[in-house]
């Protein structure tokens, strides 16, 4: 039986769509019949990763411009889960943000470190229409 799933979601650049994208992500994880780990925990973690990545793309890369769009692509092939978030911005140095450790009383700066903590590999590279945040995780 094939163990390949791919879902593409395109939404307007508005944060009210974060809940929709998060819910689809959780549903996808719960549909992985062969995953033997804690699905509830994995679903929450991926919801979090996709929410953080999409919010960053909407508010920072796309500068909250409602005329822009965000595309989120989630795929699972065997035990490799891949999430791509496409923005229409001009990029930023994500590795710098990843290394920054938020102080206890900082209000921001936790989103990118959370992504790095929960995913195995993170790359932010140029795409045809802007940049894409590529994140992968091996499902054990």
């Amino acid at each position: 039986m094939s163990k390949q799933i791919k879902i593409d979601i395109t939404v307007p650049n508005q944060t009210r769509y974060l809940a929709v994208i998060g819910k689809i992500t959780e549903c996808l994880v719960h549909s992985l019949g062969y995953y033997s780990g804690d699905k509830t925990e994995l679903a929450y973690q991926l919801n979090l990763v996709v929410t953080e990545a999409t919010a960053n793309a909407m508010c920072h890369a796309n500068e909250c411009d409602p005329s822009k769009q965000i595309k989120v692509s989630i795929s699972v092939a065997d035990d490799l889960l891949k999430v791509c978030v496409f923005d229409q911005g001009s990029g930023f140095d994500i590795s710098k943000l990843a290394k920054t450790r938020a102080k206890d009383t900082d209000e921001g700066g936790r989103g990118v470190p959370i992504i790095y903590k929960l995913m195995d590999r993170v790359d932010y590279v140029k795409s045809e229409t802007g940049y894409v945040l590529k994140m992968t995780k091996r499902l054990h």
């Binding site: 944060t15 979090l48 953080e52 206890d104 921001g108």
Partner: protein, 111 residues
């Protein structure tokens, strides 16, 4: 964001009546807390019973409230966290910053 405000003496309880606290709605909680601080109400309980999901923006709003309450010699305490929300505080080490309780009664008694 749906918030229910309950005043009990000098303590104000904010019940967050949303399943998610994220970049879309966390600003509403932050604004509501600032309004209470302006009114001189700086001992807050944030009741997260209904909240199933919190992202870094939601945490940021709570940190903002905590800092503002502390700066006014008040306090902001959290109660009734669902397990996955609790795990977010542990992931970001914020469980060391906030006082977190399992019930409203216990939180009230701690003031």
């Amino acid at each position: 964001m749906q918030l229910n405000i309950v005043e009990q003496g000098e303590i104000v309880k904010i019940e967050v009546q949303e399943e998610r606290m994220d970049a879309h709605n966390s600003g509403d909680l932050k604004e509501q807390m600032l309004q209470l601080f302006d009114e001189g109400k700086c001992n807050l309980i944030i009741d997260l019973t209904a909240v199933r999901f919190v992202d870094s923006s939601g945490l940021g709003a709570l940190v903002s409230g905590f800092k503002n309450a502390s700066a006014r010699d008040g306090n902001l305490k959290l109660c009734c966290l669902q397990p996955q929300v609790r795990s977010m505080f542990e992931l970001t080490r914020l469980h060391r910053v906030f006082e977190i309780f399992t019930s409203v009664e216990e939180t009230m008694e701690s003031f």
